[in-house]
Symmetry: C2
DNA sequence: TTCCTTGCAAACGATTTGCATTGGA
DNA sequence: TCCAATGCAAATCGTTTGCAAGGAA
């Protein structure tokens, strides 16, 4: 089953946690990999062949989330969207559409990312806070909605 | 009714939109003002006396959101949390503790905030995206949990 | 009076769970 | 074999809505 490089990484991770990497789970992972941004369970279902019941999909996503393979994002309209975790996908930020809720990934250049880090270090230096990660989300209207 | 300064600001805003500033709405606003961070509807309900049905609370929050008095926040676990809008509370960012979940507000200095804006303008220039707002959240461990 | 607002209960959509069946190590 | 994973249907949770009663202009 572990054919692609991605499958191999995820398979190893799950194996180390004594969790099976089944066909269904692999299908969810490779669907997420082939998509641009975080996807809701319903969107994901329409993307997976053969058809998967939503309940199974949610269960799969829960397992993948607990094992650190996918990351959930909660936005307006009450739907959760899922994407591959950063150790698989790389560090990135989001453009969030305030109208349709779509999320687009953006990767920052090294200099942009280091400018973000500079600001964060400034902030954290004042507060007594041990930063481990950061989220920069830009809200606005996507091409379709503007 | 418009006794406090906050009430006066909100009352004016609503009046300019031909929306009544009722006792129930005022209670929600002052509850939000007296609380540290964004609160869910259920948390808010337990804080308001006399008891308010959740449905009324949601309706009140919807009105206040549409009129720009409160801002919803969809950080975690799919429940919406609400806080006073930035024109009442000031623009700020969040330090989110990954252990205890506490959210601390931080205000950036003018130069820090302008550095954030510079980066955002850089990013948005490339994407076809009309930015209206941004959220910078720093995740890590708060003083208590580290 | 005439709208707007509220409370109650029922409806709703997203997500979860119980249980019987299937499938992989 | 044996336990974990799946499919289906029903339950649950947060949130929304229809409708009748209460209140302010």
């Amino acid at each position: 089953m572990a054919t692609t490089n991605l499958d191999r990484q995820v398979g190893q991770r799950l194996a180390s946690l004594d969790i099976r990497y089944t066909t269904g789970r692999s299908r969810v992972v490779s669907s997420l990999a082939s998509l641009d941004g975080p996807m809701s369970a319903a969107e994901l279902r329409d993307f997976i062949a053969p058809p998967v019941p939503l309940s199974s999909l949610y269960r799969t996503l829960a397992v993948l989330e607990e094992s650190g393979v996918v990351t959930p994002h909660y936005g307006k309209s009450g739907v959760a969207r899922y994407e591959l975790a950063e150790w698989l996908k790389g560090h990135h930020h989001h453009l969030v559409c305030i109208d349709c809720g779509a999320i687009e990934d953006v990767s920052l250049s090294t200099s942009q990312e280091s400018r973000v880090h500079d600001v964060i270090n400034d902030i954290v230096a004042l507060a007594e806070f041990q930063a481990t990660d950061h989220t920069l989300e830009i809200e606005g209207r996507c091409k379709k909605c503007s």
